[in-house]
């Protein structure tokens, strides 16, 4: 009796909200008119900055909302700024309206109540086009429940790049990678943790090497960290010895790896951006003989998001921007390899036939893999694994 009462009231509430949702969204649009949204986003890639400028133009035309990008070198600059504002008691009228983030930055902001929301699940385009079951990472960002506090923007997956002119059969698993490095000393490396791609490399290796794969989806304190990760360290002990510059230094990030690949210092580069190779070839930063590939057993993938700080002065405008970013038009333009090449977060089945055709017609760059070729995505381990992996790595190899 009680259960059915609760169920009835919940479904009633849901119905109520859906009727009101339409009206609510109209209110949001009205409120957003004339607002300026300060979008704090990493500004290190020209093609991404250009895409944001393109979006700003369309958002201005369609909704009369001004979108301004604040270019960051690190997302944590924005997190620090929100924190400083909270410390100064600036609980309204904050300086940031929208942040591009995921993973640990999201967890830090969510856990410290620095975010506005929930809002994302109520966005019209989210309800219309996003299938929450398509990928685990849409509802669980590095294992942290999203709970509507951030709106999906794009999908990323680890890919490897190599030059077909110098390397015929690239290594397609962690053991093969080690074997290759032993034959060609100094030609294999990975970014130094705690850079996120470096940590991702550790996770990828851990997935392949540990016999206790189940433990990775649980919080780290429920597992025997040493036992689960022992094969990883044994592997890295061997790999670092024959790595680039003898494992004494490591590249800082993906863009440095791409430069090293172009300079022919290394043979395999990593990226979280599936179209990185095509974009860099086009910009003249890689030879056109470079191709992408993934490991046979799949690679780690995740989703990146947009979130609104709790003290934003333009939440309505920020919601309008987040909603626009989820439109087929914006996602299609973003997936175009000459623009950015970032994977769409929309569910193909939910698109109209006309939009489906347009998505099918998006050209792929010469070095970009198709969705089928990208194969299986491995989920990110629970975000609590990041810290211990980082710390153990630095303890072992960075002192």
């Amino acid at each position: 009796m009680l259960k059915s009462l609760i169920a009835a009231s919940i479904s009633g509430a849901l119905l109520f909200t859906s009727i009101h949702a339409q009206a609510d969204w109209q209110d949001t649009l009205k409120e957003a008119k004339g607002q300026t949204v300060y979008f704090n986003a990493w500004g290190g890639a020209d093609n991404i900055n250009d895409y944001i400028r393109w979006s700003a133009k369309h958002i201005k035309e369609q909704y009369d909302v001004t979108l301004k990008q604040v270019k960051l070198t690190d997302t944590s600059d924005a997190v620090n700024r929100v924190l400083a504002e909270k410390a100064a008691g600036r609980n309204t009228d904050g300086s940031i309206d929208l942040i591009w983030l995921n993973g640990e930055n999201f967890r830090a902001m969510k856990d410290n109540n620095l975010l506005y929301g929930p809002f994302s699940t109520e966005l019209p385009n989210y309800k219309k086009y996003v299938n929450e079951h398509a990928r685990q990472s849409i509802t669980r960002d590095f294992g942290t429940p999203v709970d509507g506090m951030e709106s999906p923007w794009g999908m990323a997956q680890v890919i490897f790049m190599y030059d077909t002119a110098t390397l015929k059969n690239p290594p397609k698993s962690m053991p093969e990678l080690l074997a290759y490095a032993e034959q060609h000393p100094g030609r294999i490396t990975y970014p130094a943790p705690p850079q996120f791609l470096g940590v991702t490399f550790l996770k990828q290796a851990l997935y392949e090497l540990t016999p206790y794969k189940q433990a990775l989806s649980q919080p780290v304190d429920k597992a025997d960290f040493q036992k689960v990760t022992a094969p990883l360290w044994a592997y890295l002990d061997k790999l670092n010895k024959v790595a680039w510059r003898h494992g004494v230094t490591f590249p800082t990030d993906s863009s440095q790896m791409i430069r090293l690949l172009d300079d022919q210092e290394i043979d395999v580069a990593l990226s979280f951006d599936i179209s990185a190779a095509s974009v860099q070839i086009q910009q003249g930063n890689l030879p056109d003989t470079v191709r992408s590939y993934v490991f046979t057993k799949g690679t780690i993938g995740n989703t990146h998001f947009l979130a609104i700080p709790y003290n934003s002065s333009a939440t309505a405008g920020a919601e309008v921007v987040a909603n626009f970013m989820l439109s087929p038009e914006a996602q299609m333009h973003k997936q175009t390899p000459t623009v950015w090449g970032d994977l769409s977060v929309l569910s193909y089945d939910k698109l109209s036939p006309a939009d489906q055709k347009k998505f099918d017609a998006i050209p792929r760059g010469i070095a970009t893999l198709s969705i089928a070729e990208l194969g299986k995505t491995l989920p990110e381990p629970h975000s609590s694994w990041v810290k211990p992996l980082e710390q153990e790595w630095r303890k072992r190899y960075a002192q």
């Binding site: 700024r81 924190l83 100064a88 930055n105 490591f250 440095q256 210092e265 003249g284 810290k387 002192q399």
Partner: protein, 577 residues
């Protein structure tokens, strides 16, 4: 300057300087003792210190920081003194002097990226000699940069700081009347290097003590250079702290704040040790310096410094030359000595933003530097009038901001700015810039200003008793070269500020530097090359002006003046007709 209530002004300035320093320090001290309400921490504990002292990364970073932070200033000073002693008043030296300005003006990160490309195993040096000489078709697996001992980092710091020291020394030479001393000692039969070693350097040192301390503090706290060319397993303490401050898990900022305080203590300790070592060294060499010998074996020490110094200067120059080449590059692979294909795309890409970026940059830099010049003049005037040889409170207070590690210090200031509702404004940015520009301007103006022969001004006032007019048109006009040089230094310091611009402006005001650093985040050499060129353009231009203007000033002023006068004379005649 006809000032009244000197004492009042002194204290006002001192208090104005002290407020931001205090707030910044409190903003770092409280979290270091675990008090930080926004993260729900209300109890003072030593937890952060305990975890800092238990973190083995702290010790390995500290070791590296001490090594790079002590060795670099020693070598930079040695090289700068050697080059000065060897080249002073020689015709060729003028060319070296001209080279200093661009090296001072170019941002640290940019020159580091240039150096990285010069020295890395796939870099320019290797490309020039491969494969015809080295036989390498592919770059060797050598560790020439980012080496674990920080040698390449030390080299980069020296490359950037040695020119600064040389520049300061050249500016303070007139205070010790080097030319006369040289003439007198040379007639007594002393060798050139010996005169410097025995007579001039001991006189010069007290004058350049503060710049040396700045160089020491810089070497210990530098982040951008170390990120590019320093080791990362482990990194220097400043970089480790930077990483901790930016760690996604916000609780890391407690240990980072404790680390910042530790770094401040390290700076104080190293500077103290440096002075002790100086005293000890002076005593040790006293006998040798006054033994009357006209030359000595230690002269070779200076000669070696000259050779190494010139090598360093030329690598700095080559690192500079690399940037324009990259900005025009489309494809440039190992082992090509020059790019295989060229393009204007990289430069054109920066073009649309140029107007906004340049105007923001110029407004901030010019306003901040003009205020800094006026404040310096005011402070120096009160210092002159108070007629004590004792240091004023502001004599050390203004240096505190540049001696402290930026990141933790600025967080506290940011909170203050938000509370007084100034964040995100040009005023706030200019204010923070002023804090970093003022010490450099004050320092470069101090020597010449205090050495000014006040008799000129007294005489002028006797002839025409308009003290304010005479102050500007006699005293300041006579100090023009020094003021312009101080302006150029302050200007380039302001141009190079990244974190203060970002923090005070909430990232809403982009400057050439914020844009260049955001670009440098990706490390793309083509983009960095073109942005760095734009960023260096204005400082180089101002340095050139500071150099070129004073000798031509009077001639130009008079010719303009006469022309106007002529026009005046002609106008009435014409109107009469």
């Amino acid at each position: 300057m006809p000032l009244k209530s000197v004492r009042f002004i002194t204290w006002l300035v001192a208090i104005l300087l002290a407020i931001p320093v205090l707030i910044g320090l409190i903003g770092t001290l409280l979290p270091a003792f675990h008090y930080f309400p926004p993260l729900g921490e209300y109890h003072v504990t030593f937890a952060a210190w305990i975890s800092l002292l238990h973190s083995s990364e702290f010790y390995s970073s500290l070791r590296l920081t001490l090594a790079t932070g002590i060795i670099s200033p020693i070598i930079a000073l040695w090289m700068a003194l050697s080059i000065l002693a060897w080249g002073y008043q020689r015709p060729f030296f003028q060319k070296i002097e001209n080279l200093l300005a661009p090296i001072l003006a170019i941002p640290h990160a940019a020159i580091a990226i240039g150096l990285l490309f010069l020295l890395s195993p796939s870099g320019w040096l290797m490309r020039l000699f491969s494969p015809w000489l080295t036989g390498f078709d592919r770059p060797p697996n050598w560790i020439t940069v980012q080496d674990p001992y920080g040698l390449s980092l030390i080299f980069a710091i020296i490359m950037k700081e040695m020119p600064y020291l040389l520049f300061i020394m050249l500016a303070s030479l007139h205070a010790i009347d080097a030319r006369k001393t040289l003439e007198v000692c040379q007639t007594l039969g002393y060798k050139r290097l010996t005169i410097w070693r025995k007579v001039l350097i001991p006189q010069l040192y007290p004058i350049i003590r503060m710049p040396i301390f700045i160089v020491i503090a810089f070497s210990l706290t530098v982040v951008d250079l170390a990120l590019v060319i320093g080791p990362n397993t482990p990194s220097t303490l400043a970089v480790t702290l930077f990483r901790w401050f930016n760690d996604p898990s916000l609780s890391k900022r407690f240990i980072a704040s404790a680390g910042s305080i530790a770094l401040v203590l390290v700076i104080a300790f190293v500077i103290f040790g440096w002075e002790m070592a100086h005293c000890f060294f002076t005593r040790l060499t006293k006998a040798e310096r006054s033994n009357g010998k006209r030359s000595g074996p230690t002269d070779y020490f200076l000669r070696l410094g000259v050779v190494l110094g010139l090598i360093t200067l030329s690598s700095a120059f080559v690192s500079l030359v690399i940037l324009p080449i990259w900005s025009l590059t489309r494809r440039w692979r190992f082992p090509d000595a020059l790019p295989a294909s060229w393009t204007l795309d990289n430069v054109q890409h920066a073009y649309p933003l140029l107007l906004e970026l340049s105007s923001n940059t110029l407004i901030i830099a010019i306003v901040a530097t003009v205020i800094a010049c006026l404040m310096s003049a005011l402070m120096l005037e009160t210092k002159r009038l108070s007629k004590t040889t004792k240091n004023h409170p502001f004599d050390w207070l203004i240096y505190v901001p540049i001696l402290l590690p930026q990141i933790g210090f600025l967080f506290g200031l940011h909170i203050l700015l938000i509370q007084i509702n100034l964040n995100g404004t040009l005023v706030a940015i200019i204010g923070l810039h002023l804090m970093y520009v003022l010490p450099y301007v004050y320092l470069s103006l101090k020597g010449p200003y205090l050495a000014y022969q006040e008799d000129y001004l007294v005489q002028a006032n006797r002839l025409n008793n308009r003290p304010w007019r005479n102050y500007f048109f006699i005293k300041l006009a006579m100090l023009k070269p020094a003021i312009l040089t101080a302006f150029a230094i302050g200007f380039s310091v302001s141009i190079a500020q990244y974190l203060p611009t970002l923090i005070a402006g909430d990232g809403r005001y982009s400057t050439l530097t914020t844009e260049a650093v955001a670009q440098a985040a990706s490390g793309d050499r083509k983009q960095v090359g073109s942005m760095a060129l734009l960023q260096a353009f204005f400082p180089v231009f101002i340095f050139w002006l500071a150099h070129a203007l004073p000798p031509r000033w009077t001639k130009w002023r008079l010719s303009i003046y006469l022309r106007i006068k002529k026009c005046y004379k002609q106008i009435p005649k014409q109107s009469l007709k």
